[in-house]
């Protein structure tokens, strides 16, 4: 990946010095070799601070939204970031001409805690960028691993077991809202949890408030989830959040036909927000 | 004679039992001040004043199903504390639905107070805007109650429209009749048929105009300022331009507050907590604090 990193630096410097973009979003190096962080480079001379290696665990696309409006912004985008770009465009968060996509095919990242492939990468369906202005590096194979193993496990549980599973999951939640802040679908200017006047979300910390938050967020992201898995990766308490997202993805496929959020397939508009007279209605 | 420097005390906290738990009080009087401002007099259930407090101090007023809000105490009587509340949000909306006889929660007093001791002998220039009235009113009433201790008193007060002027009775009937007390009122926008024939001006230019027309001096004066963020900023600049020393400008700040006792963390400006060491500061002190 060293060549890719060099090319990213060169391209970032060129784009910044030509004035084509006002910022380049990628990763910088932390104190330790296995720690990388989302880095926004604004000056060509800082392009050398960009790194790209197997420790770039964060899905950085959300930063785009903080910098659009300051001129065109370049994003170093793997499959996951590129799907997020499509998501933002579909959700009217930005327009295609506001972002310059430096596409980078991704072989998968390494979890510094275990030394193994990061979970969100092990489940990745799209390693190559689905949208890009230029591509750095050669396309990688798409193994399309089976990603519903955890959903299968939870589906096979009895009602009581499932209840216990979700109680344990949300019993650990500290409601730091990292999942929301990292999520490319969570783009509400004011989140329901902060609408104090309405008071949807209680401020107390307990399993009920956490479950309520988690479920509302899951439903609100609904068919827009791009399965980047960043919510689960960002969670400091290790909640298996993708179980819920994957369950939704699979249900949507079953009910409405193959569909993947983030403009991956040409399956038309988002199914949960499109009314069709032949929509399935067996649950009514 | 050299004037006594204005000294604002910042260490006035006192532990009065459980700091977070309110006492139950009864609403004994409600006055509709404007379309969105009401004043409330609160009394303990046994007919006493809820607490003694100094002008500028704060009280946390609550209506338990809805929430609690921190207000500057607008005045105290023999047997009541008075609050002036603008309907700006969820809790204040519900406070506005209270009736006389309803029981509410009140805790406090919190924070420091205006330097009425060190300001003795000075000409007092009070400046307030809109709902910035309560703390200024508390200090002004103190000065009027001890009229001989202070020099000339001027009060420059503005609100968006005539209807938004708070405490009209005090402004037009009570205070102008006090000895050597001059009340100057302006509105930002005159409205057709609202009966206002006075000045139409924002507070800062109006303050400068009054200062010139009345021939006021900064010589032995103390300015007291309270209002929203933009009034606050522009009037600070005007006062400095008029020649007030930063040490002679006294202000009171507002912030979102929860605990009232300098612990919960949100109302800090730099290392200082507005609810505990504040809300009263001199301009000289503010200038040394971060612009947080």
């Amino acid at each position: 990946m060293a060549d890719v990193q060099d090319t990213i630096r060169e391209r970032a410097a060129a784009l910044l010095s030509s004035g084509e973009v006002s910022a380049v979003i990628g990763w910088g190096a932390g104190r330790f070799d296995d720690v990388r962080f989302p880095l926004v480079v604004k000056r060509a001379e800082d392009a050398g601070k960009l790194v790209f290696d197997a420790s770039c665990v964060q899905m950085t696309a959300k930063r785009l939204l903080e910098h659009t409006g300051e001129g065109k912004v370049a994003l170093v985008a793997r499959g996951c970031e590129s799907r997020a770009v499509n998501r933002f465009i579909a959700d009217h968060q930005l327009t295609r001409d506001q972002v310059y996509v430096i596409g980078v095919p991704c072989p998968g990242m390494v979890d510094p805690a275990t030394g193994e492939t990061l979970k969100r990468c092990a489940e990745c369906q799209v390693r190559n960028p689905v949208v890009h202005d230029e591509l750095v590096g050669d396309p990688v194979p798409e193994p399309k691993p089976y990603r519903f193993a955890e959903v299968d496990r939870v589906e096979a549980m009895s009602r009581e077991e499932r209840r216990a599973f979700f109680d344990e999951m949300y019993g650990k939640c500290i409601r730091c809202y990292a999942c929301r802040n990292a999520c490319p679908c969570c783009t509400c200017r004011e989140c329901f949890v902060e609408q104090d006047k309405v008071g949807w979300q209680g401020k107390a910390f307990n399993v009920n408030e956490a479950r309520y938050y988690g479920m509302i967020r899951a439903f609100h992201t609904g068919d827009r989830c791009i399965e980047c898995g960043e919510c689960e990766r960002a969670c400091p308490m290790g909640l298996p959040l993708m179980v819920i997202m994957h369950q939704q993805v699979r249900d949507i496929d079953k009910l409405f036909g193959p569909y993947e959020g983030g403009g991956l397939t040409d399956s038309g508009p988002d199914p949960l927000r499109t009314y069709k007279t032949d929509d399935i209605e067996e649950f009514m | 004679m050299p004037k006594t420097p204005i000294e604002v005390s910042h260490g006035c906290a006192r532990n009065n039992g459980e700091p977070y738990v309110p006492q139950v009080c009864r609403v004994i009087d409600i006055q509709e001040q404007t379309h969105d401002v009401k004043s409330f007099r609160l009394q303990t259930l046994d007919g006493k004043r809820p607490f003694a407090c100094e002008p500028g101090q704060l009280g946390m007023f609550s209506d338990p199903p809805y929430g609690e809000c921190m207000f500057a105490v607008a005045g105290v009587g023999e047997d009541y504390c008075e609050f002036i509340v603008k309907n700006v949000g969820f809790t204040t909306n519900h406070l506005h639905e209270l009736s006389v006889g309803d029981e509410v929660g009140l805790r406090g007093p919190y924070g420091n107070w205006f330097p009425y001791e060190s300001a003795k002998g000075r000409d007092m220039l009070f400046i307030g805007g809109g709902i910035g009235m309560p703390p200024v009113r508390a200090f002004l009433r103190h000065c009027l109650a001890h009229r001989e201790d202070y020099g000339r008193i001027d009060f420059v007060y503005s609100a968006s429209t005539y209807d938004d002027l708070v405490c009209k009775d005090d402004l037009f009937n009570v205070w102008p009749n006090e000895p050597d007390t001059h009340v100057h009122v302006s509105v930002y926008h005159a409205k057709e048929g609202d009966g206002w024939d006075g000045a139409v001006s924002y507070t800062a230019p109006y303050l400068e105009q009054v200062f010139a027309e009345e021939g006021l001096s900064t010589e032995n004066a103390c300015a007291v300022l309270c209002g929203g963020p933009s009034l606050f900023r522009t009037c600070r600049e005007s006062l400095l331009k008029l020649g007030f020393a930063p040490e002679d400008i006294v202000t009171t700040l507002e912030a979102r507050m929860k605990c009232g006792v300098g612990k919960c963390g949100r109302c800090n400006v730099g290392g200082v907590f507005i609810c505990l060491e504040g809300p009263v500061f001199t301009e000289a002190e503010l200038a040394r604090m971060p612009r947080d």
């Binding site: 989302p38 500290i174 | 977070y20 612990k263 963390g265």
Partner: protein, 340 residues
């Protein structure tokens, strides 16, 4: 006096028979201080727990009072209660240093927080020193030491197979007296470890005073997600909210942990928010930790435990931030250079 690590279980059983006892332990894939009892395996090998021990003194949610309304009538009942004695066994020196900070906040500066005080007075803290500080540990250059904890009631100095037991307070002395049956006479050489990671704090609190408008805050803002992870895993972050739970005509008012990273933390009724930008919230957090708190209480609000660095989803690293502040030019010099 020595306590063989292998025999700690018997001592813990004895303490737990007398009063509540909290030990570091795994909890559903994370770790925290849990009540010792059946099925709880103490993890004295953990450097520090995922969640800090602060909730033992300052619970994440704590009822302050209950109220009920009947027409115009209102009743308010304080939820304050005395706390039975309890022991926290095996916390680390950094976490003990965090208790010193919480004490300063809740017990000084005019008001004593009775809810905190009741728990604090009931607590006996038994601190185990760190023989092998982790790579994110930097307590000894900011607030504490891996092998000391001056305010602990009892100090357990790690000597390999055993701990050297030293009572440091009256409370600690009576605790150790009661532990006698489980202790052994003898001497062992405590491991005096030092952290590899060091920060240079000397000039930081003063330098920060001139850095309100420094570009560092927008750089950190670009990196930070402004989630609340750092504030919730931090052993010293104490800022709280007061809110309520309403059930028709009755309810309770509680306080709960809050985070300066959240947008609604400083939003006022009417819409004005003095810290609306990410940059301003990030600045508040680090200014509070590294200079405001020092002004007020004469100590840093960071104890170098490394939790925020480990768990931050965006890998914000307070030690790197301290490095950058320490290396920055003082504001006046910068200004002078600009004018030169």
């Amino acid at each position: 006096m020595l306590l063989k690590k292998a025999k700690a279980g018997a001592l813990l059983d004895a303490i737990a028979a007398k009063e509540r006892l909290f030990v570091p332990a795994d909890d559903r894939g994370t770790s925290r201080f849990v009540a010792y009892g059946a099925g709880v395996e103490p993890r004295f090998d953990l450097l520090n727990t995922k969640l800090p021990p602060k909730d033992l003194l300052f619970p994440a949610t704590e009822t302050l009072y209950r109220w009920s309304r009947d027409g115009a009538d209102l009743a308010i009942d304080s939820a304050f209660a005395e706390t039975d004695p309890f022991t926290v066994f095996g916390l680390r020196p950094c976490d003990m240093a965090s208790v010193d900070r919480l004490d300063a906040v809740f017990l000084t500066k005019g008001y004593v927080d009775e809810f905190y005080q009741a728990k604090r007075e009931a607590a006996t803290f038994v601190v185990a020193t760190c023989a092998h500080p982790g790579r994110a540990c930097f307590c000894d250059s900011i607030a504490a030491s891996p092998h000391e904890a001056p305010t602990a009631d009892v100090l357990l100095e790690d000597a390999g197979e055993e701990w050297v037991v030293t009572p440091q307070t009256e409370k600690g002395a009576s605790a150790v007296e009661a532990w006698k049956p489980y202790l052994e006479e003898g001497d062992a050489e405590p491991i005096k470890a030092a952290c590899d990671l060091k920060v240079d704090m000397a000039a930081v609190p003063e330098k920060l005073k001139g850095m309100f408008d420094d570009p560092i805050w927008s750089d950190i803002g670009d990196q930070c997600l402004t989630c609340g992870t750092c504030t919730f895993v931090c052993p010293t972050c104490y800022c709280f909210n007061i809110d309520q739970d309403v059930r028709e005509d009755e309810g309770k008012r509680f306080r709960c942990w809050d985070s300066c990273m959240f947008t609604d933390y400083t939003a006022m009724a009417g819409g004005h928010n003095p810290r609306a930008s990410k940059e301003s919230r990030v600045r508040q957090r680090f200014m509070h930790k590294l200079t405001y708190f020092n002004d007020r209480y004469d100590m840093n609000l960071c104890v170098g435990c490394g939790r925020c660095m480990r768990d931050c989803p965006a890998a914000v690293d307070i030690s790197l931030i301290i490095d950058r502040i320490a290396a920055s030019e003082p504001a006046q010099e910068k200004e002078a250079m600009a004018h030169a």
